[in-house]
Amino acid sequence: MEKGLIALAAALAIAIPALATAWAQSKIGSAGAGALAEKPELSGIVIILTAIPETMVILGFVIAYLILA
């Protein structure tokens, strides 16, 4: 039972930030696509902006690992 709860906690630790990251990236991605249509030279910045929310899921991954370790 305890093992199952630990696994569930780890899964939630990565799943919730993953959803949050996906949501944030969708917003940034669509705004970025709009910006690129106007100014294609911004492509580098837009790629970086899209990568910014990934910190959430990466920290989630680390926490999930620490829960399981």
């Binding site: 580098g44 970086i48 990568a51 990934e54 910190t55 920290l59 680390v62 370790a69």
Partner: protein, 637 residues
């Protein structure tokens, strides 16, 4: 590094101004500064150099010729371009007088007419081809019906098409046609394709107006022939159309051959002429940047300090003491106006490509390129860390470098990939990875430092450790930046953030058992002192920035997370390949997953490493807001 710049002033006789400008243009090292707007308004002996009327007219004329040449150049096929010949060959350069001469302009007129005429002809032909394509199917469908009716005098024939979905209206239409033509008509129906039905109606000419009105009111598509064929009957039009279609490829080919012939003669010549025109226009435009007194001109500009000697020698050689060059003192309020010239050794230069998407750094601040050149490939290698993947990316980068030799931006990216893939191979050796665990499966490779899958905790500590080092380096560079720019207060604030971070890390290390417990009291005292100093210098923003810095350090965990994901995907590929039980199928399946991983292996480590630089590292010290050094030089140099 950001080169040290000198402010230079050139003073000489006004009669020499044109020659001086030409020399500066050829040298291509002086960033000419516009004379401030206030000069000329004040009661000063110095005035803005007004552009003489005849020069203004010449500039306008040259711009018009340039536009025309550009128009012709864009219409010529690049594939037909010949070698540089004609006007510009040999040692004799073309003179401006040649380009503005009537003879040359007449030649341009002729060329322009010919090229535009050929293009119009080609456009007409392709339009005809597409319209014939549209009509052919319909006409072919009703041709047998029209042929039957040939020779009927005083009778009119019209063709219409109806969607198969509206098939039901055909009997109604026939009734209505019969009523209008008082049953003196013929009504033929023929399937054209699965969606369209063709109808041909023949009736005495006197009912034409009523019949046309009926067709129009029922919104039925009458077959209208292209303009060229309107005088012909449907049947004759079809015959002519088929004949035309057979001729057309030959006609188009003839036009292409003529265009290629013109391109062979003119393409390179036009490129050279346009370059010459652009350069001359630039020289004329530069005149307005100069100031003048009654007898002299004054040019002010910026030049890399190490090039000043070369400029002095060039001016001395050409004008001896008639033109004077001197290095001027840079005033305090001019520091932010100094153009920024970043010049790095050949090995580091490709990494400058990553700075192009940011505004240039301020003059006198630190150029981040050397740090980028060290840390970007390191992070890339740590994340990818595989001999096989690194090797493939290395080969790919060499191919891309060769392929995009002429495109500097892409060639630089390829060079960055070459260096980064070598780091990936090196880390692959340390982690004992060759397409995941393939090397280990065959007993050829073993992890030297640690196994990335089994020792995730070690990898995490390493990633965070690198983050600490990278961020602290960023803070140190910020201190150097502020000291260089004489901003003591800001330098002290950054120094206190640095000490606060060091104290915090020491305390964490003590609590984790890596350092003796006796150090905890001095650690806490130093941390509190740094915290208070930080608040004194920066207010409440200071501690918030410090908190953000902790977040920045934790963000380096992505090196471990993305790296582990990369190796896990490689392991999955090998495992799935092994499960098939068939060597060929196994290699095929594993190959597909490895290819996906390699593609991700270019994007993911690249983007994540860049992000760590732009967001985490640069935010600590990068001072944007400089002006790029844009020397006055000839196009194509």
């Amino acid at each position: 590094m950001i080169k040290v710049m000198s402010k230079v002033q050139l003073i000489g006789s006004k009669a020499l101004l044109d020659e001086v400008i030409r020399l500066l243009h050829n040298l291509g090292i002086v960033h000419i500064e516009s004379i401030p707007a206030r000069i000329g308004l004040e009661d000063s002996y110095l005035r803005r150099q007004p552009i003489e009327r005849e020069k203004a007219l010449l500039k306008e004329r040259l711009e018009k010729i340039l536009e025309r040449l550009k128009g012709i150049y864009l219409l010529l096929p690049a594939s037909g371009a010949g070698r540089e010949e004609g006007l510009m060959t040999g040692d004799m350069p073309v003179l401006l007088a040649d380009i503005t001469s009537h003879a040359f302009l007449d030649e341009v007129d002729k060329l322009e007419k010919e090229v535009k005429g050929l293009h119009a002809e080609k456009a007409g032909l392709s339009e005809e081809i597409s319209s014939i394509g549209r009509y052919e199917k319909i006409l072919k469908g009703i041709a047998p019906l029209v042929a039957k009716l040939k020779g009927l005098n005083n009778f009119e024939t019209i063709g219409i098409t109806i969607d198969r979905a509206k098939e039901d209206i055909i009997p109604l239409l026939e009734n209505e046609v019969g009523r209008i033509a008082e049953e003196r008509h013929q009504f033929f129906v023929k399937d054209i394709d699965k969606d369209t039905i063709g109808i041909v109606i023949t009736y005495p000419k006197k009912y034409d107006a009523k019949m046309k009105a009926l067709i129009a009111s029922e919104a039925i598509a009458e077959i209208k022939l292209p303009e060229r064929y309107t005088d012909m009957t449907l049947f004759d039009a079809l015959k002519v159309m088929i004949k035309r279609r057979e001729e057309m490829p030959v006609l188009v080919m003839n036009i292409d051959n003529k265009l290629n012939g013109l391109a062979l003669e003119w393409y390179k010549k036009l490129e050279l002429l346009m370059r010459l025109l652009r350069d001359t226009i630039d020289e004329l435009k530069t005149l307005v940047y100069c100031a003048h007194t009654r007898f002299t001109f004054v040019i002010v500009g910026w030049i890399p300090k190490d090039k000043f000697h070369a400029l002095s020698i060039a001016i001395m050689d050409k004008f001896s003491d008639k033109v004077m060059v001197r290095e001027m003192e840079i005033r305090e309020d001019e520091i932010d106006l100094i153009p920024v010239y970043i010049k790095n050794p050949k090995l580091l230069k490709p990494f400058e490509v990553f700075l192009n998407i940011l505004p240039p750094p301020k003059y006198g601040s630190v150029d981040p390129t050397p740090y980028l050149a060290l840390f970007f490939p390191t992070f890339f290698g740590l994340i990818l860390g595989d001999i096989g993947y690194g090797g493939i990316l290395f080969m790919l980068s060499l191919y891309l470098k060769k392929r995009f030799k002429a495109k500097e931006y892409l060639a630089n990216l390829a060079s960055v990939l070459t260096i980064s893939s070598l780091f990936a191979v090196a880390f692959g050796i340390f982690f004992g990875e060759f397409f995941g665990d393939l090397g280990e499966r065959f007993g050829l490779l073993h992890p030297i430092i640690f196994d990335r899958v089994k020792a995730m905790k070690v990898f995490l500590v390493l990633a965070i450790g690198i983050g600490i080092g990278h961020i602290l380096l960023g803070l140190m560079l910020a201190i150097v930046n502020y000291i260089h720019r004489g901003k003591g207060k800001e330098a002290m604030a950054k120094a206190s953030t640095l000490i606060l971070m060091l104290a915090l890390i020491t305390i964490v290390a003590i609590l984790a058992g890596y350092l003796p417990k006796g150090l905890i009291t001095p650690g806490v005292v130093i941390m509190l002192a740094a915290f208070i100093i930080l608040i004194l210098f920066e207010g409440i923003i200071g501690p918030l920035e410090a908190l953000k810095t902790i977040g920045n350090i934790l963000s380096y965990a992505r090196i471990m997370a993305i790296g582990t994901a990369s190796v896990a995907l490689a392991l999955v590929a090998n495992k799935l390949g092994g499960l098939t039980g068939n060597v060929i199928l196994g290699i095929f399946i594993a190959g597909i997953i490895h290819v996906i991983n390699i593609l991700l292996g270019i994007l993911s480590p690249g983007i994540q490493s860049l992000r760590l630089h732009y967001v985490e590292f640069f935010s600590k010290f990068y001072q944007a807001g400089g002006r790029r050094y844009e020397p006055f030089r000839k196009t194509g140099k």
